[in-house]
């Protein structure tokens, strides 16, 4: 008989904690391992969540990892670790700092959880997914970045704000990188099957696209100290659930492209079919010229950051 599912969440900030909490409330896995830098804090959170699971009549046990060996046997490992950008820090400073963190954890995963599917949520997302792929040495289907689900959820919310109905039924499509160059595809959006063009005019749709691009920044500005984590965490658990339950559902995820959409050896967000083995299939959508160009720009911006890391000899120890 198959054993219970196990998920390790690396990073116990708001994001990682919320991912673990949702998993415990859903009961989709029997074991959640939290890996944080401070063992006592991590253990405190793990206890709190295990107790919440009992209140929710769920069977999930949350434990704090004492060391990397505690992630052994994980079906999924989520990497949320990474520093936020603080004032005075350049984009490149952040890039190299987080790339180092992800590299360290990727090596641990390679050693201790060699069969896991890795879900990366550290930023800049596409590059960090690239780093995790290189340093785990896993096949590309087992290293995925979470971006498109979150961006689409944000777009769906902004569409709801205009419509005031259809919440939870709005299927938005966002592909490309997770950042300023994301590619929202409003023409592909439907509400319970009804095309968005029948419900909103092009001006309204333009406004929604703009708001979607700015979705993360808007929350950062409002919070004043920190960034969003409820929607990011829920979007992450959508991927984790799809893997654990082997749903074969389609989600927009960051993945290493290999002759997909005309690109190779670069990570970007595209629709993939997710199952127990990770991304079991990349799905090619027909894009219009403008969308093709936007996707190209998006891929180029990720390539630029990978190049920066190359120049800094980041990958030389591979």
């Amino acid at each position: 008989m198959a054993k219970g599912k196990k998920v390790t969440v690396i990073g116990t900030g708001n994001f990682g904690s919320t991912v673990a909490f949702i998993l415990a409330m859903n009961g989709t896995c029997h074991n959640v391992v939290l890996r944080g830098r401070n063992y006592d804090v991590t253990k405190g959170k793990a206890l709190d969540m295990s107790q919440a699971a009992n209140a929710a009549r769920q069977h999930t046990i949350v434990k704090a990892a004492k060391g990397p060996e505690d992630m052994a046997g994980s079906d999924v490992v989520v990497i949320t670790a990474g520093a936020p950008r603080t004032p005075g820090m350049s984009r490149d400073d952040l890039l190299i700092m987080n790339a180092d963190i992800v590299k360290m954890y990727a090596k641990e995963i390679k050693e201790h959880a060699p069969d896991a599917v890795v879900v990366v949520v550290s930023n800049p997302l596409d590059v960090m997914t690239y780093v995790a792929l290189k340093y785990t040495g896993f096949p590309r289907e087992r290293v995925l970045g979470m971006a498109g689900i979150l961006d689409a959820a944000r777009m769906a919310h902004f569409i709801y704000e205009k419509l005031e109905y259809g919440a939870g039924q709005i299927r938005a499509t966002v592909m490309g990188g997770h950042g300023d160059t994301m590619v929202p595809l409003p023409k592909f959006t439907t509400v319970a099957g009804v095309p968005i063009d029948d419900l909103l005019d092009s001006e309204e749709i333009g406004e929604i696209v703009k708001k979607t691009r700015n979705g993360g920044a808007q929350i950062v500005n409002l919070l004043g100290d920190g960034s969003a984590y409820y929607a990011p965490a829920k979007s992450t658990t959508v991927m984790v659930d799809a893997i654990l339950k082997d749903t074969n559902q389609i989600h927009s995820c960051a993945i290493m492209l290999q002759d997909d959409y005309g690109y190779s050896d670069i990570v970007s967000g595209v629709p993939v079919m997710i199952g127990a083995g990770g991304a079991e299939q990349v799905i090619e959508m027909t894009l219009k010229n403008l969308q093709v160009r936007k996707f190209r720009d998006s891929v180029a911006s990720v390539q630029e950051m990978v190049d920066t890391l190359q120049e800094l000899k980041f990958f030389d120890d591979l």
Binding site: G168, A192, G193, N248, Q249, I250, H251
Partner: protein, 326 residues
Amino acid sequence: MVNLNLQVGKKMTGRKVGIIGAGAVGATAAYSLSMMGTCKEIVLFDIAEGVAQGKAIDIAQSTQYAPQPTIITAAQTPADIKNCDIVVITAGVPRKGDMTREDLLLINAKIIKSVIDDVKVHSPDAIIICVSNPLDVMTYVIHRLTGWDRKRIIGLSGALDGSRMAYQIYQKLGFGAGQTGKLVIGDHGQNMIPLPQKVKVGLVPTTDLLSDEEFADIIERTKNGGAEIVKHLGTSGYYGPGRAIAFMVESILDDAQAVVSSSVLLEGEYSHSDVTVGVPVVLGKNGVEQIIEMTLNTKTREKFKVSVESIREGIDILEANGFFNA
């Protein structure tokens, strides 16, 4: 036990759903609602003695393992279905071998008439979900017999046909289960209009996943969705209809403002009036909150017209037989 002496007038009441006709469809709707824990109370009624009582007890016992409690009772008379927020009407007979369409229409319209008077008296503020067949005509009958605001009378059609279409799409793809849009308009019968080309599977348009030939097959199989089950089972399906009813009930009770194709009375929408037919509507606490007018191409508009005419024929048969005269 201490009586807190709540003032009944001010007390918030739980959500109550009445189901008239506790056959397989009605009972499955009740079971699905119980497992989701959507309502406080469900009342079942059936003309066949003991059926509602037996099923109510069985479902009530199953709720011991449900996430939320639900009270399930059986009504002894239709008058016991009182003060419901929603009344689901599944009552009616199926068409038998020697029965003409006219026979069926008149028999079921009379059954509806016999239950609707009680609903008007005992649940005067309810929203009615009609499940009796022929669906669109029976929904129209309820409009005429109650004279209620059209928002409060909704026929189950697209919620079920759409799920059948989504199933057929999944059968072709082998992935994306539960992620497919559900869009079927027109009548709940042979002239229904499944629109698989318009929907998406997750974030991907079906047009990137299926060929024209496959679309044609999906449309055909969706239309025959009910008949296919009858062929295997010897009787109509009830899990799909039961869950579709429960979904509509949940959308209304939760005020979800959910888009669901349903049979509603048109008053000029899609260029038709005084006829009930399936179109996408927004379901919320008031019932039909909004009718969504999609842009239909010429071909689909023509199909829609054929569909409307087929429903009108049924209404005309009832008119010709003096059904509405009383």
